[in-house]
Symmetry: C2
Subunit: 478 residues, 2 copies
Amino acid sequence: MSEKITPREENFSQWYIDIVLNAQLADYAPVKGCMVIRPRGYALWEAVQTELNRMFKETGHSNAYFPMLIPDSFLRKEAEHVEGFSPELAVVTHAGGEELEEPYVLRPTSETIIWSTYKKWIQSYRDLPLLINQWANVIRWEKRTRLFLRTTEFLWQEGHTAHETEAEAVEETLKMLNVYKTFVEDYLAIPLLTGPKSQSEKFAGAIDTYSIEALLQDKKALQAGTSHFLGQNFAKAFDVKYQTREKTLDYVWATSWGVSTRLIGALIMTHSDDKGLIVPPKVAPQEVVLIPIFKSSNKEAVLDYCADLEKELRGAFRVAVDADDKQSPGWRFAEWEMRGVPVRVEVGPRDMENKKAVLVRRDNGEKKVVDRNAIVSEIKELLDDIQKALFDRALKFREDNTTSVSSYDEFLPLFEGEKAPGFVEAMWCGDPECEAEIKADTKATIRCLPFDRQNRVAGTCFHCGREAGHVAVFAKSY
Amino acid sequence: MSEKITPREENFSQWYIDIVLNAQLADYAPVKGCMVIRPRGYALWEAVQTELNRMFKETGHSNAYFPMLIPDSFLRKEAEHVEGFSPELAVVTHAGGEELEEPYVLRPTSETIIWSTYKKWIQSYRDLPLLINQWANVIRWEKRTRLFLRTTEFLWQEGHTAHETEAEAVEETLKMLNVYKTFVEDYLAIPLLTGPKSQSEKFAGAIDTYSIEALLQDKKALQAGTSHFLGQNFAKAFDVKYQTREKTLDYVWATSWGVSTRLIGALIMTHSDDKGLIVPPKVAPQEVVLIPIFKSSNKEAVLDYCADLEKELRGAFRVAVDADDKQSPGWRFAEWEMRGVPVRVEVGPRDMENKKAVLVRRDNGEKKVVDRNAIVSEIKELLDDIQKALFDRALKFREDNTTSVSSYDEFLPLFEGEKAPGFVEAMWCGDPECEAEIKADTKATIRCLPFDRQNRVAGTCFHCGREAGHVAVFAKSY
């Protein structure tokens, strides 16, 4: 415990790994590219699940579960889909001691198995909309992996909905994008850009993909979730028609949308510092850690005093207590800072005498001496402050690291060298070839065409000089 | 909807399938032996998860997640384990477009991947006990499958704990068995026998396996969950030693325990009737369905009256409302009976005039006219009654179908023919060969040696006549 964390300035990648391992969020697995999610990391995922489940149910969705094995032939039914996912598939060829007649792939995503099933469930407009989500593991064979951000197996949720009309499906796509934005900004305190991806960056099989994009502390972008308008592509691939209100037959309109354990990586990389993890209060498995400070002479008195306090705190917050007398207070402070608990409550003999307690904020280290009797309301206020401060700090970081350019000459130097420049905004023509040239030159990709940056007047493409109707945001990305 | 359900007397297997499909709990998947768990079935699993998670956390366990891919070589490290699971393994041989150097198996259970990881996490007695649970999908290639009861892929939780001493591990094994018993009896209203399995029926790799055993309406037994004392078998296979309090090195002691979506099958087969599903109130996704009864002339008045009622009901219960005027009241009654909602509230024009409502119990069809103003307390009482009545009815069924025998001559006719005889108790010698002979003759297996039936004086084995120290319970089983 309390092992040294490499400073961000020295080596950002190592800093991230040090936090994940030392805060015991995850561990490398003895399986290539996979990880073990340890209880402290899984508790963060459970917080994500709890809130998203609530939001999904409030928007009318139900959970279900579909098989993880998909017949190889299903993937091939949607041409773009199979092309996009083929390189990443893991294949079961043998089972029960025999070679299988048709191999199964492990789901990289579940559109095909789900739409093959929806064909049985959807006959009429009365069966629509069908609003289903599943929490599941998926497998994508990745060459370069990184704990939480990109692993061969990961946990996610995938929503798959079916609708009568194109308009309704588009509305659903944007509604769920907005659910993600609300959750990630309000709970994970990560500011997001949202908007459509360029056509070359969209999901294999979608008409349009929309994403939520975060900027991490190393100024690289992270696609933190996606919502896809699938048009009638999968309905056509699996022949899912319904009887319309006008008694005609039509293909069903579809969406799918997902976020994954990658969000935990985004959370770590957005907020944490060189002392360790920082977790926003709303999703912190423990909001408060109570640390009694004592010598052997006054141990009993301090612990007595803390017993009542602990009870009161537990009535109001998720609480940890660390009264380990084998460790110094300083060691214990550092340990709980590393674990990211938002508020530390210190109580020593003098605090006891004065009926006080010391509150220390994890996000900025500020100390405050408060009346013992006012402690619950003081902590409540502090937790709200921290939640807001984390978002504001991340937003300021993003704003400080967003550059607007109008020419390729301004653009190119930003992407030179190993360092990432943050978000770079520019008017762009929309042509995939233009986008490909930029990527080949600089490794910069278009993160999205942010909804809230489209208020500029039309201009010319910063790269090719042709007419440009969109503001695109470029970045180096994970 | 409201399709015909085959009566139990006519064909019990078909009755079960009819309920699963018509109540939309699950559907056959286009993958051999797999199923799709539909929202109404998944809601039952979510109720199981919610309560068990609470009980696991109250007993000190944390959730985590381990990879579903296991290197083939890991399975081979524990000789009995690999022998037991080999026939059921599914194997990934290709991934990322290439043949793998070492194939991965899809977890049939996670002892091996978890103990290979525990080796990294456990050095000292200070790291113990390690109390971890995971919710996951597992794959066992089954030849004969049945929705919920036995599917190639199923969902489950698996606890894996590590302890300093044998006594502590045995205590944990029995504690978790008791958690299962408490949950299944109190929430699912299924009475259980609990006790050790015979050595030939234990988990591959365990020292002792304990199980919870239910008796279903076709008088077949179902193993509904197991808790294993693993001794030091997996610690030795994966070389997991710890420094003891005496500064010596010793292998760690282990347990594992699991229940699965099979519990949903047990619930259906224990309580349901020829009208459809019956769900115990405590785990019912909807406790109450409100059905307004009206003609076009009084529709508005009745619906107005019901709006307030609905609001009040929603404040106290999980509520569905069915005011579909395209369907007759009778059709709607039948539909919600099929779905298993415990209490139906009928409100028609006369009820409205008299400030009354009609409550109908799903379990026995009893009707009660109650005052509109007393409805919440009346329903609360009814739900408690139903929860208890379901358990009592199932317990009586089990008692009526438990036979005690003292000779093989009494035993043999019970197991003749296709029908199952329920539970059959007998004094048994404990010899696996004796057990195997009985099984070969009759297909009867020992379900467990129930804790609460061991108060008989020692006697002689009903089959081989040798000294017998145990009461064993035999049955035909799923």
